[in-house]
Structure formats: C-alpha cells, structure tokens
C-alpha cells in the first residue's frame, strides 16, 4: 500500500496571553491509499487540532503549527503558499465536520454549497454544477435530489445534513478525507446509515479516510488501523485487531475497559455488582502537562522513570508502535521547537504576571475554551 499522506512530528501550539497550550505535540502517522485510520481519544487530546492542522485551518493567532511535515502524495503542504493550499483544500484533501448544522451555511441552498466546491476547483458552469450537485446528492442516498438542491440546511434532518456534508466533501473525489466525529451528533440508527454510506463510498472511490472519534465501537467496526491519542501525543498506533486484542499502552487498556459492552455479565461470581475498569483521575490541564509521560499521573503501572522522562514512540512489533516505558527504554528526544516571536511574548507576559502577584502563583483556574476543546 503506497502512502498518500505522511505526517511526521506534527506539533501545533496555541499561544495565549501568558501560557502556551501544547495541543498537539509530536504526532506521526501514515495513511495508505484506500485505508481508514481511526484517531481515537478523549476531548482535549488534540485529535481535532490534528485534523485542522492537516487542513491548515488552525486559527493563527493564537494557534501555530510549530514543527512537522505533512506530505500529501509527496508534497509537503505545510511549505506551500496559502494560494496553493486553497487549491488542495476541498480538492485533494477534504473534511467532514462534526456538527452538520453549524458547518453548513444557513443562508445558502444545499445545491449552491455543493456546487461552490465544484466551481472553485473545476472548470464548470453554474447550471452544470447544480446538476452535478444533484448527482452527488443521489450518490449519498438522498431521495429527490433535483428538489433537494434548492432546499436550505434547516429544512433537512440531522442525518440528511450530514449526507449533504459528505456530498460536499466527496464532490471533487479527494485523495484523503478527514472525518472529524461525523456521527457523534447523530442517533444510532442514523449513525449506522452514515457509516454504511461512508464505507460504500470508500470502496467505490478508493478514498483514504482519517476517521476521528471518541467512540471505540465505531473505531472497531469502521477502521483498518488505529492511532490512540492522549494529551496531545499519539500513545499507540496499530491495526484495529491488535489494538483491541493486544493493547500495550496502559491508557489504551484503560479506555477499552471503560466501555460497557452490550451483553456483558453485570454480576461477579460472588453475586456483587461488577464495576467497570475505569481510569482514575481526569485529563491533565493542557497548560501544564506533566513533565514525564503525560499519562503517568493516572497510570496504574507508573514507575519512577515515567515521571522523569517522556518515552519515545517505538515500533515493538511490526506495525505496532507504542510510547511507553513498559515496552522499551527509549527516551524521547524532543527536537528543539522554535517558538518564535509569539513564544517570546508569552514568556514576557508570564514573567510580568508572576512578578506582580507573588504568593498566588497558581493563578486563576478558569478554563479557556481552547484548553477544554
């Protein structure tokens, strides 16, 4: 399988007034042609920022891609100009967003929004584009597409809106499609319809999909390979069968133990109620991640070493990479990241504030939207 997308050491930071959020800090993965990679993690683990970095849609300021390489069919899209990127976006790499209501424009018809993509990337007239839009709507399983093209997003149900989103994403038959939680806002029966549709499209068009979700069950049924993320880093990458059968990282194990499986026995042998293997604690604050392994504070198997150094990502079995000292001893050497002028500004503000209020060094604890995102 030749790789259409390669991401190497991607790091996206957000420079706030007096602190830096290291939202994505060292993510590597590859995506083969026609392959589906699942990116799984809890909220705030950086999975959405990873996908926005791939589209170069990170709002700047405050966000900036600090380091890394994203090569799409051999071309590093982090190095090309914004004009060139506009030709790539929607054409070679496209995206399905989570909220179909907020990501479609309410004042334009569905047909217009689909044809917009076509007219931007292809030499096609307005009327033909609308006709093509209707064909795409038929492809994603909408009835009466000729009438639907004249409807506005509010006239469609959640499932139909998501189908329209998929039609927009598929309009130019992209090489890579990023699906950022495409079914999270939908009911299970509608989710099943959308997943079936995406599976059909993937098979007929040979599209590679990066599928972002927090739902392990969707991952199990839909993807070929899985990357598990925690607090901005990819902790484990392997095939979907390996991840579910032989998870190596304690976080992956904890995540799998946290999900109740339908039909599970609820009572132990001695008659007491069976509890889930929950991971203790909660996600670390994105502004001050622990110094060593970021999972160490919640890890049941944390050793002294875990608190001191960050483990490197090592391939412990063919195609199975894990970032944990239980499985290797390699320490991660973080390449010096150039934080630039924004980094200097944050540092200066930090000093100013810590000079002002000595004693209450902890500062306020209010979450910024980005820290929670």
């Amino acid at each position: 399988m030749d790789n259409v997308l390669e991401v190497k050491d991607l790091a996206t930071y957000f420079f706030m007034h007096d602190y830096i959020i290291r939202a994505v800090d060292g993510v590597d993965f590859t995506l083969g042609r026609g392959e589906t990679l699942g990116i799984v993690g809890e909220s705030g683990c950086g999975k959405s920022i990873t996908s926005m970095s791939m589209m170069r849609l990170v709002p700047d300021p405050p966000g900036r891609i600090i380091s890394g390489e994203i090569s799409l069919k051999g071309r590093d899209i982090l190095k090309i100009s914004e004009d060139e990127m506009r030709k790539v976006r929607g054409n070679e790499i496209s995206m399905i967003f989570q909220e179909p209501m907020t990501s479609l424009n309410p004042v334009f018809t569905i047909g217009f929004q689909i044809s917009e993509v076509l007219r931007l990337h292809r030499d096609i007239g307005k009327q033909d584009a609308i006709k093509e839009a209707a064909r795409l709507l038929r492809m994603v399983g909408m009835s009466d597409p000729e009438e639907r093209v004249n409807e506005y997003p509010f006239q469609l149900s959640g499932g139909l809106r998501q189908r329209a989103m998929i039609a927009i994403a598929m309009a130019c038959e992209p090489t890579v499609m990023i699906a950022d939680e495409p079914t999270t806002a939908l009911d299970v029966t509608i989710q099943a319809q959308i997943l079936r549709l995406m599976r059909q499209l993937k098979e007929t068009k040979d599209t590679s999909i990066a599928f972002i979700t927090h739902d392990l069950a969707v991952i199990a049924s839909f993807t070929d390979r899985v990357m598990v993320m925690y607090a901005g880093v990819a902790v484990e990458t392997s095939t979907v069968h390996e991840i579910f059968k032989n998870p190596l990282h304690p976080y992956t194990q904890g995540l799998l133990g946290s999900v109740p499986v339908l039909g599970d026995r609820k009572v132990n042998a001695d008659g007491s109620r069976k509890l889930l293997n929950a991971i203790p604690g909660s996600l670390p604050d994105a502004r001050r991640f622990p110094r060593g392994c970021r999972f160490a504070p919640r890890c049941p198997k944390a050793m002294k070493k875990c608190w001191e150094a960050e483990p490197a990502k090592v391939e412990v079995a063919p195609g199975h990479q894990v970032r944990c000292f239980l499985h290797h001893d390699e320490v991660r050497v973080i390449s010096k990241r150039d934080l630039g002028a924004a980094g200097k500004r944050v540092l200066k503000n930090q000093q100013k504030i810590s000079g002002k209020k000595k004693g209450s060094a902890d500062g306020s604890k209010t979450d910024t939207p980005i820290a929670r995102n």
Binding site: E42, S43, S157, G159, L160, D187, V188, T189, I190, Q191, A192, Q193, L195, R196, H214, D215, L216, A217, V218, I219, A220, S221, F222, V240, H241, F244, K245, G254, L255, L256, G257, S258, V259, P260, V261, L262, G263, D264, K266, R273, L275, L276, N277, A278, I279, P280, S282, L283, K365, T366
Partner: protein
C-alpha cells in the same frame, strides 16, 4: 432481595403534549405529543433504564415524574397503596365514560334538552374529578398540592445531563449539597456540615471541595457534586437524565461505577435515562425502549439483549457498532428518519420504518402485551414468533 418486588413508582397513562407553532408567522399552535400514554413501574432498589433516540420523549417522562413538566394526563403513584390505586382507577374509568357521553351530547347539536343534559354531565365530571383528586392526593404525585409536593421532593431527586449548566456558579459546593437538608431541616449546624463531608467522601471528592465553586471542577467532578446533591436528602428514587453522556469515556466509567456502588449503600432506585444502549443495559435491571412517545418494549437487560422482540429494538441493537473488530454486526440498518412527533404516523408509529409490517400496522395502535417471562412488547407482528 424481597424488597425489590415492591412498587415504588407506578406511572400510568402518562401523557404530555407541547404546543408548537404551526409555522413561523402563524399564531395557531398544534400539539406535539412528546409522551403518549406511558405505563411503567419502578420497584424499590431497582434501576429502570429508559432508552430511545432523540425526541422519543424519554427526558419528558423523567421530568414529568418530578413535575418539572406538568403532564396533561396520567398518574404517577409514589409508594402506592393498591386499594387506593384501584379506587381511583374506578373514578378515572367513570370519568372517561362521562367525558365520552358529554362529547356525544355536544356532537348531537342543539336538540331539545341538550343544554340541560350537558350541564348535568359537566357537573358530574367536576364532582368525579374532585373526589378522585382528594383520594389520590396523598400518593399520586400529579394530584399533590404544594404541601404534599414539598414532602414528596425529599423522596425523589434528579441528576441532570449537563454538569456545566446544572450547578449554581455563585454557590460553593457545601451550600449546593447542603441546601436540601437545610431547607428540610434534616441536618442542622455542625451536623449538616458533617453530613456534607460524608457525602463528599461517598461520591469520591476531596473534603476541601466544600469551600470551592463549581467552576473549579472538571466535568466528571461536577457530575459527582450533582450526585451528592441528589443524595443529600436520602431519596428513594433518583431520576438520572443522561448523567454520563456529556462526559468522556474514561470519566463516564467512573460515574457509572459510582452510581452502582451508591445504589447498594443507599438502597436507591434509579430511573436511568440515556440514549446509549450499552450503558443502559450495563447499569439497569430492566430496560424500557421508547419510540415516539410510547414504550415499545420492556424487559430485563438480558431479555432485551439476547432476545429482542420488537422490530425497533432489534434494529436498534443491530445499528450499534460493537467494540470488537472480530465481530461484524448483522446489517439491520433502519431506513429513514424518526417521523415528526407533531404528525406521527397512524397506527403503530414505527410502521413506516418497520421491516416486519403487516396491513394492520398502519391501522391499529398495538398495545403492550406481557409474555410469560415478563417481557413486554407492543407489536402486531413480532419477528421470530
């Protein structure tokens, strides 16, 4: 446990409609049937799960039990005395008859003596309603006056879905948790303080949380505060309205574990409302599946999972991806969307999407029927027998 078979809550014929505007500019409103005749019992110390897709009315049922919404019809018996229930049932039956007689008279038009007759009937209806209310007042939550409601609320508490919106940001945690006991006078002064500390221990929060504000906590911790608040009056029933759906997977498991262990400590019954069938199945003793304001199937978790009988439950289970790549679920994907509850389909509301429909499905509304093993479904033509 023998106490498990005593009925704690008996919901009968619960109906709730909301007015919706017919169109943006119209002043007319049409009724949206959010809950359309729900009958279900919750036993002492039991967890009843309520699942369904968005808009099926599961939250409305939960809120009607606490009268956070005022239901249109029905009764919610708390700790019912069977004799009283039977008696009131008689009155309700009579009321139905009188009402239909009155409708007939009105439909008959202006004929001789019609006015006299309708006045008479209206009088009898009023009397009937008054007596029924008087008899039901002590036990039926929906007939209670303010005093009884105040007493009742000690026994029925709620945990809300969104931990970011359900805690007052201006109150410290000890006030949030202690407000109930303070109001009811169950704990006072130093004892109240001690009780709050005890509750914090129970829900797994540090004791120094008492003097902090809600914004200082994460989503999972906030949900723990909400649970402590619900526990503070040692209720018999807690209505949990999607208590874990706003939480992350790892935190969700912590809260589920907490709810399970508290149930044993406090001998609680839960009405557990959620859309995630695997969570509901895990925590519940019995599960009710709702579709468009009606319960379509009710059974124990095992019955529902191993032997689902209503076509909707079967396709719901078939739609859920299994967290195991080795298992490929049978593709039983439902076509179409949930119809609008403003204008639900005639007959069985599920029939337009049902793979098993027969002619009578579009005509006759199926009623819930109990099989020998206590498994209840409402279907004319259940698959596999």
């Amino acid at each position: 446990m023998s106490s498990k078979n005593e009925t704690l809550i008996d919901i009968r014929g619960l109906k709730k409609t909301f007015p919706v505007k017919a169109s943006v500019f119209s002043s007319k409103s049409i009724p949206l049937k959010a809950v359309d005749g729900v009958n279900v019992q919750i036993r002492k110390g039991e967890t009843l799960g309520l699942v369904g897709e968005s808009g099926c009315g599961k939250t409305t049922v939960g809120r009607c039990v606490l009268r956070l919404y005022e239901p249109d019809r029905g009764r919610v018996w708390l700790d019912p005395d069977p004799a009283v229930v039977a008696e009131v049932e008689q009155f309700d039956l009579e009321y139905e008859q009188l009402q239909s007689q009155l409708d007939d008279v009105i439909a008959g038009g202006r004929i001789r003596g019609a006015g006299q007759k309708s006045r008479e009937l209206k009088n009898r209806i009023r009397k009937n309603r008054n007596t029924a209310r008087r008899k039901a007042m002590q036990q039926d939550i929906l007939s209670m006056g303010p005093d009884q409601m105040h007493k009742m609320r000690r026994n029925v508490q709620m945990v809300f879905q969104d931990p970011w919106a359900s805690l007052n940001p201006q109150m410290v945690v000890s006030d949030i948790i202690g407000e109930g006991p303070y109001t009811y006078g169950t704990h006072k002064g130093a004892r109240l303080n001690k009780w709050v500390m005890e509750l914090l221990d129970k829900v797994g929060l540090p004791r120094n949380a008492a003097n902090r504000y809600p914004h200082e906590f994460s989503g999972g911790q906030r949900q723990r505060i909400g649970i402590a608040r619900a526990l503070a009056l040692t209720p018999k029933l807690i209505v949990c309205d999607e208590p874990v759906s706003a939480l992350d997977v790892s935190v969700q498991a912590q809260i589920i574990n907490l709810l399970i262990s508290l149930q044993d400590d406090f001998e609680l019954a839960y009405l557990f409302i959620a859309h995630d069938l695997s969570v509901v199945q895990y925590i519940s003793d019995r599960v009710a599946v709702m579709y468009l304001g009606k319960i379509v199937e009710l059974g124990t978790g095992e019955q529902l999972y191993n032997n689902p009988r209503h076509p909707y439950t079967i396709s719901l289970l078939g739609s859920i991806p299994v967290a195991d790549p080795e298992i490929k679920t049978q593709e039983r994907i439902l076509e179409g969307d949930v119809p609008s509850p403003v204008n639900p389909p005639k007959g069985c509301t599920f029939h337009p999407r049902c793979p098993n429909r027969i002619d009578s499905c579009s005509q006759i509304i199926p009623v819930l029927e109990k099989s020998q093993d206590g498994h209840v479904i409402a279907c004319h033509n259940p698959p596999n027998g």
